[in-house]
């Protein structure tokens, strides 16, 4: 699995608080058994409502890789379809004032860093990006800052998540499975695992 130490690319600002996962990917697009087509459907309802002004529709933001958002981004449903849609559109990292917890966890599990910054810094970055949409910026997870033009702002991420990116262990699945013996030991110690086995055998003997 790949280490993620820094991401450089053009940025795209998306201004607004409490942008929920229903807005990121409306529920009708969850009628699918793969994530493949979601990139084209990201913000499907928000975009037409802004009469072509939505950042994701602006020619100069096409190809952007770092999404800059405000407070409580990704609140609501646990649908991983939301970060998948954003990722399939081309985003590789997010910077925001704050993120909803399940959305943040989904991004980590997909290998997409979400870092937070002070509201005033986020707004400054968003304004700068609007003026310099074609200039690459750098999110540095080792130094924990973002460089844009001649400026730099500090960013934050909990240490555990940051370590997962720096060490390339953000996909936890392999590490989890490797603990098969301790997992069985914990299961054996939990009383309800035994009770449910008794119930299951009683139910099957009734049939």
């Amino acid at each position: 699995m790949s280490q993620v130490k820094s991401i450089s690319g053009r940025g795209i600002p998306l201004v607004g608080n409490d942008i929920d996962t229903d807005r990121i990917i409306p529920a009708r697009f969850l009628r699918c058994v793969t994530f493949d087509g979601l990139g084209a459907q990201v913000f499907a309802d928000d975009r037409p409502q802004t009469q072509g002004q939505h950042p994701f529709d602006q020619p100069y933001y096409q190809g952007a890789e770092i999404l800059v958002v405000n407070r409580n981004f990704g609140c609501g449903s646990s649908r991983e379809h939301a970060p998948q849609a954003i990722a399939k559109w081309g985003i590789k990292a997010l910077v925001g004032e704050s993120f909803a917890e399940i959305f943040f966890g989904n991004c980590i599990a997909m290998g997409i860093p979400c870092v937070t910054a002070k509201p005033t810094d986020v707004q400054r970055l968003q304004e700068w990006l609007a003026a310099h949409p074609q200039t690459a910026i750098v999110l540095d997870l080792e130094a924990m800052h973002i460089q844009f033009g001649d400026s730099s702002i500090p960013v934050m991420m909990n240490e555990g998540s940051r370590n997962m990116f720096l060490s390339g262990t953000w996909d936890a699945c392999g590490q989890l499975i490797a603990q098969a013996d301790p997992i069985q030991q914990i299961a054996a110690r939990l009383p309800y695992v035994g009770w449910s086995r008794s119930v299951a055998s009683a139910l099957s003997s009734q049939i």
Binding site: A27, G160, S167, T169, L176, Q179, L190, P191, Y192
Partner: protein
């Protein structure tokens, strides 16, 4: 750091290891899956050549996409049919129990697990659905997860998680007449905000919750996520044990006695330490309705839509967005707002007690002209119970449609949707823009009794005047 709470105890009992990142590897006692967030997880397992480690600890049902009128297979919607078939195939291939339509056990995943006694105190529970917090009503630690994490649970029965802080939310006293569990949680979210719970588990404590039934407690814990908290719970007590006793998957005979003892031992200690404590007085909680586009934008039913300058500065931009989207004017009373559609159902309020309360209002009245009102029971068992009590007849006589169980217009993945700028009175949990199936549709959240009151009056109405 919290100490001695149920959250701490259950977390410790389920800790398998500390991962190199510092996160905890947590054993998941009960995994619930449905058709929307699981197909990609099974595909990931196949890609990696992984098996399901504990198939007996995962239970599947279908709820989000099921039509609530004509459920004949194949479904009219090809995509819904494809998802249904994927779930049937995936559960069959892996030996996971699947409760399909007509099994007698199908329904909204957060309704069926408790009613069958699958949800128990002291468990860790995960499901690819944010309203998994519902199961905390039993004193379980229950979290919503995404699809990659569904894969992790299928493959290892564990999750990589960071431990949460614990905030005790204490509500004491008797709720006034016409004030329901839904009003309590809407009031809490309105007060603490939609981001107030980020990083926290909410422990709901105090005499108000102690007096609530399990179904009311589920309504409370269900909407923890709307307050930003990934999980919420209530310490198990006699009400919990009484509810569980005799249910299909509840421990039996000598196991039962041991279970009660174990469950009791997990309760938060009297001297437990919390990261934060907030206290409310039940007497001050009004029938509450949302006016905006986040569940935190709530007001008492007899209040006016707030003026921008009455709101904290960081709430004003989202309020401006909400006035425009909802087409509601600040300073206008919310009562009297005309509604087009009334929806009673969902994992928040689709249980038998919710239908009983709504039926009390509907009885001997009639849905107002031009209003479409429908009731979607939370599960096949809820539907059967309601019909045994004649609630279906009360609703139908009043002009409500009586439907088959499913998530329905809570998130409108099935054919039940708002059209255009219609405005709904809804017993569900989210009033986000476009949530109920129309990109410009509008949602007012309230208790099921208040939805029934809106249906029969054609407008937002104070249920206390109809009791």
């Amino acid at each position: 750091m919290s100490k001695g709470t149920l959250f701490d105890k259950v977390w410790d009992l389920h800790t398998v290891s500390t991962l190199p990142s510092g996160q905890t590897q947590l054993f998941i006692g009960l995994h619930l899956i449905h058709e929307v967030t699981s197909p990609q997880a099974f595909a990931m397992l196949r890609e990696r050549g992984l098996n399901v480690m504990f198939p007996e600890r995962t239970i599947a049902t279908v709820d989000h996409i099921v039509p609530t009128d004509n459920q004949a297979r194949p479904f009219a919607d090809d995509l819904a049919e494809e998802m249904m078939q994927a779930l049937e195939r995936n559960t069959q291939d892996t030996g996971i129990t699947f409760y399909g339509i007509g099994s007698g056990n199908q329904g909204v995943v957060h309704v069926i697990a408790p009613e069958q006694g699958l949800t128990q105190p002291g468990m860790t529970i995960a499901c690819g659905d944010s309203h998994t917090s519902t199961h905390g009503a039993f004193g379980a630690i229950a979290v919503g997860i995404g699809t990659s994490q569904v894969r992790d649970v299928l493959a290892s029965q564990t999750l990589a998680l960071s431990k949460l802080k614990v905030r005790k939310i204490e509500v004491n006293g008797t709720l006034p007449t016409g004030v329901y569990a839904k009003d309590v949680i809407l009031h809490i979210i309105r007060t603490l905000g939609v981001t107030g719970g980020v990083g926290y588990a909410y422990e709901y404590a105090g005499t108000t919750f102690e007096r609530m039934s399990m179904e009311e407690r589920m309504t409370i814990c269900n909407m923890s996520i709307e307050g930003g908290a990934r999980c919420g719970y209530i310490n198990p007590d006699e009400v919990t044990f009484e509810y569980l006793k005799g249910r299909d998957f509840a421990p039996k005979e000598i196991d039962w006695d041991q279970a009660v003892e174990w469950w009791t031992s997990l309760r938060s200690d009297a001297d437990a330490e919390y990261d934060d404590v907030v206290v409310f007085d039940a007497a001050e909680i009004p029938p509450t309705v949302t006016w905006g586009i986040t569940p935190g934008q709530g007001i008492a039913v007899n209040q006016a839509v707030p003026m921008p300058n009455a709101l904290p500065e960081n709430e004003r931009s989202i309020a401006e967005e909400a006035y425009r989207y909802m087409d509601l004017q600040p300073g206008e009373p919310i009562a009297g707002t005309k509604v087009d559609v009334c929806f009673i159902g969902s994992c928040t309020n689709g249980r038998i007690s919710d239908l009983r309360e709504a039926a009390k209002i509907a009885k001997d009245r009639h849905v107002a002209e031009g209003v479409k009102a429908f009731v979607v029971p939370g599960s096949e068992r809820v539907k059967q119970q309601a019909e045994a009590e004649g609630l279906d007849k009360i609703f139908q006589a009043a002009g409500f449609e009586w439907r088959e169980p499913g998530c329905s217009m809570c998130l409108a993945m099935n054919p039940d949707k708002l059209v255009g700028r219609q405005i709904s009175a809804s017993s569900s949990n989210r009033n986000f823009k476009g949530r109920q199936g129309s990109a410009s549709g509008r949602t007012l959240l309230m208790s099921p009794a208040m939805v029934a009151a809106a249906a029969v009056t054609g407008q937002v109405a104070d249920v206390r005047e109809l009791l």
